[in-house]
């Protein structure tokens, strides 16, 4: 990138997170997040861990600035402290960590520990770099964009430098973490270990375990840790042997059951013996015992998180709580927070995992390093790239794609609602791309949830994913209470598809495509003030179908990230069974462009 003299009087801070999974970049202008995106959307590599050069380039271009205009780069962790933890683990586990040492060191020595020189080399940036502790980045990413002036903060993920779990308090522009639990004791890694045991990929498929858990036996009304809770599911009692859980929500793992601290596998032989079987092979059938194990680990996760939230409530005295870290993406657990912890309000940022740490690092740098007051709150997740109708038109013309353009917004909405009512699977590409792992109505596949065969259609023609995984319902915020037994007032994280609530019994049979086996739904609530087009579409569909609810699933080919550009969206539609695509103000029908059809099954990954 060219280096020129700074020309812009504004303060720009670039927040970065990368090197492990979900690389991302966030750009702040005078304390306001003006651009944020995950690298995977540009590189097309799911969970891309690499340096987020494409995301950075887009962030800078979106504001018409260059690297020379940056006042500061904020990095989302302290690399030397993390390196110390890795060396310490190898010291403690010598000689069993030989292989992981061989695996880890080349990348550590070549780039992970040399953050400043990597930034200088890749960006040409010569200014200051601020290093924010990993969990402080998480905490800042949870509290500083939240609507609260004061809130308890709880962060739970795999591991940062040393910390795996922490709680603290945020007031105005200040974030403080009070207590923590350290590696190797990690709730996130416990969940990931069971994910690996069940034959799914770590740091990718934890949500599949969450989706599988309702199939397992569990007395969900029983108190956590009680004999009743595990009476129906023997694996619950077994997994409780793995973790010592205190009444204050703190915990300690029996490390004999895990191998992640010394090898490249996560569960140990001892855990396999405890769970009465070897690690499931990915292609093997899912048995009832796998369902029970998923239910048990999900329930234990809820026990731990709800326990520590109750403790944080007592210790901080706050009525509001913000959550961050990968475990905060566990929407089943999130749905129980307000009912069972004493907090009156909860907020979770849409990109609660490591990707969101880039935002946290940048905001913390703004508030603490540059000592500026908070200037922004996150009201919506639409912080990524957008394409103008002109750009879309140019793309369609270049590729000679047959399409129809709508003269008005109303005409577009009417046609989209009609197609959805007719049972068509619709690609919906509108406005700025979402920040975080969920498709929230900007890069979504939409469908009619009332059709009994819609789940099968979506799985067969489009998503090719495991049959046990449900699809998510999207509903306007003012209709949510009608269809869901949700908290009131409706928590904002529901806008980001981060809460699971029971669907009201009377609607379950009428919404078969989005009702999970236990009657729950991972709803997305839509507000007119944040996405008016999407809101109006759901309402228009409701007028035709009688139920203003849509299936909303991510716009991607299995194993690929969610689409970013019109090219990605068109390619995805032509490779799958999506019937039509609303690309801004243009409608493309798959059957009208037969020459561009291809089979996405051939490239589908996990």
């Amino acid at each position: 990138m060219p280096i020129t003299a700074p020309t812009n009087p504004s303060i720009y801070i670039l927040g970065l997170s990368c090197h492990y999974h979900d690389a991302a970049a966030t750009l702040l202008k005078d304390g306001v997040v003006v651009a944020a995106a995950d690298e995977e959307r540009f590189s097309r590599l799911k969970h891309d861990p690499g340096f987020p050069i494409h995301a950075i380039t887009w962030c800078l271009q979106s504001q018409g600035i260059t690297v020379a205009d940056l006042s500061l780069v904020a990095w989302y962790e302290k690399p030397f402290v993390k390196f110390e933890r890795i060396l310490r683990s190898h010291l403690e586990n010598f000689p069993r960590g030989f292989k992981t040492f061989q695996m880890a060191m080349p990348s550590w020595l070549s780039e992970k520990i040399r953050v400043r020189s990597v930034i200088r080399k890749r960006l040409g940036y010569r200014g200051d770099v601020a290093y924010i502790d990993h969990h402080l980045s998480h905490a800042a990413g949870a509290f500083l964009p939240s609507p609260y002036r004061e809130a308890a903060i709880v962060t739970v993920d795999g591991v940062g430098e040393w910390t795996t779990t922490a709680y603290g308090i945020g007031r105005d522009s200040a974030v403080e973490l009070l207590k923590d639990i350290r590696f190797p004791h990690s709730l996130g890694l416990l969940y990931s270990s069971i994910t690996a045991y069940l034959g799914f990929t770590v740091n990718n498929s934890e949500y599949k375990v969450m989706g599988l858990s309702p199939y397992g036996r569990m007395d969900r009304s029983a108190e956590g840790g009680s004999p009743q809770a595990g009476a129906a599911n023997p694996y619950y009692a077994k997994l409780r042997q793995v973790i010592d859980l205190k009444p204050d929500g703190s915990y300690c793992l029996d490390m004999g059951y895990f191998a992640y601290q010394r090898s490249d596998r996560m569960p140990s032989e001892k855990l396999c013996r405890l769970l009465e079987g070897d690690i499931r092979k990915p292609e093997a059938e899912l048995l009832p015992r796998h369902h029970d194990i998923a239910a048990a680990v999900q329930r234990i996760t809820e026990d731990v998180v709800l326990g520590m939230l109750r403790h944080a409530r007592k210790e901080t005295g706050c009525e509001n709580v913000v959550l961050s870290g990968g475990v905060a993406l566990n929407s089943v657990c999130n749905g129980r927070i307000l009912r069972q912890t004493g907090f009156k309000s909860v907020w979770i940022q849409p990109n609660a995992g490591d990707g969101g740490s880039s935002m946290g690092a940048a905001l913390q740098a703004h508030c603490s390093v540059l000592a500026q007051p908070r200037a922004w709150r996150l009201d919506h997740a639409y912080l990524g790239p957008a394409y103008t109708p002109g750009q879309v038109g140019a793309f369609l013309a270049t590729r000679n794609i047959k399409h129809t353009r709508f003269p008005s917004r109303e005409a577009l909405l009417a046609e989209a609602a009609r197609l959805l009512q007719a049972g068509r699977v619709v690609g919906w590409f509108q406005g700025h791309m979402e920040w975080g792992p969920r498709a929230l109505g900007a890069r979504s596949i939409l469908a009619n949830p009332c059709l009994p065969n819609m789940q099968a259609i979506l799985n067969d023609k489009v998503k090719h994913r495991e049959a046990f995984r449900p699809f998510a319902p999207a509903v306007c915020a003012d209709d949510a209470e009608t269809y869901f037994e949700c908290d009131l007032p409706l928590p904002t994280p529901a806008d980001f598809m981060l809460m699971v609530y029971p669907i009201r019994k009377e609607w379950r049979e009428r919404l078969p495509a989005v009702t999970h086996v236990d009657g729950s739904g991972r709803l997305q609530t839509v507000r007119r003030e944040t996405n008016p087009l999407y809101y109006d579409l759901i309402k228009d569909f409701g007028r035709l179908s009688g139920i203003p609810v849509l299936v909303n699933t991510s716009f991607n080919i299995r194993g690929e990230p969610i689409v970013c550009s019109p090219e990605d969206a068109y390619r995805c539609m032509m490779g799958t069974g999506i019937d039509c695509l609303f690309l801004e103000d243009a409608l493309i029908v798959r059957e009208d462009n037969p020459a561009d059809k291809w089979d996405a099954d051939a490239v589908a990954g996990d």
Partner: protein, 172 residues
């Protein structure tokens, strides 16, 4: 398409052979001062050593689950494609030698650096109560009841918040 594929494969093989030749020459030159091997008159043993090093490196990388080289983009002109394939072959050879070298150096670092330090650490800590590494602690099952030797809470004091500005500029 087939001709393009064949040309690409030949270019890749050529690149690999070029890497092999360069590394063989490097081995020859590097071992001369030490008097190892038969010298320039019989390069075959050096060539064999070079290919063994590269192939061993690939086997080590497979054992370490390291990914293959990224695929070259398909939509490029023929000459550029052939040039890329040649570079790819070259990279394939040197990826193996780099893997082998890394393995040797890191093994030395591991067994001498980590190993000796670990032994000293264990010797120092042996005999001191409660000094066993945390990773080896065994936690009694919650179901087995309260163990009076266990702490009542696993929370540790942290108190990380606003720091001095200098602290933010340090990577540690």
């Amino acid at each position: 398409m087939t001709a393009r594929f064949i040309l690409g494969t030949l270019a890749r093989a050529g690149g690999f052979a070029a890497g092999w030749a360069v590394f063989t020459l490097a081995l020859l030159v590097a071992t001369r001062p030490m008097g190892l091997g038969p010298g320039f008159s019989r390069p075959l043993p050096y060539a064999i050593a070079a290919i063994i090093i590269s192939l061993s490196g690939h086997l080590i990388q497979r054992w370490l689950n390291e990914g293959a080289l990224p695929a070259a983009p398909a939509n490029q002109g023929l000459f550029r494609y052939i040039y890329r394939q040649k570079l790819r072959g070259l990279a394939l050879f040197f990826k193996g030698t780099a893997g082998f070298n890394n393995f040797i150096f890191l093994s030395i670092a591991y067994f001498i650096g980590i190993g000796l330090t670990s032994l000293f650490m264990r010797k120092e800590s042996s005999g001191k109560p409660g000094s066993r590494p945390a990773a080896k602690k065994s936690v009694p099952a919650a179901a087995t009841g309260v163990d009076p030797t266990m702490p009542s809470s696993y929370w540790r004091d942290l108190h990380v918040g606003k720091q001095d500005a200098d602290a933010y500029y340090r990577p540690y």
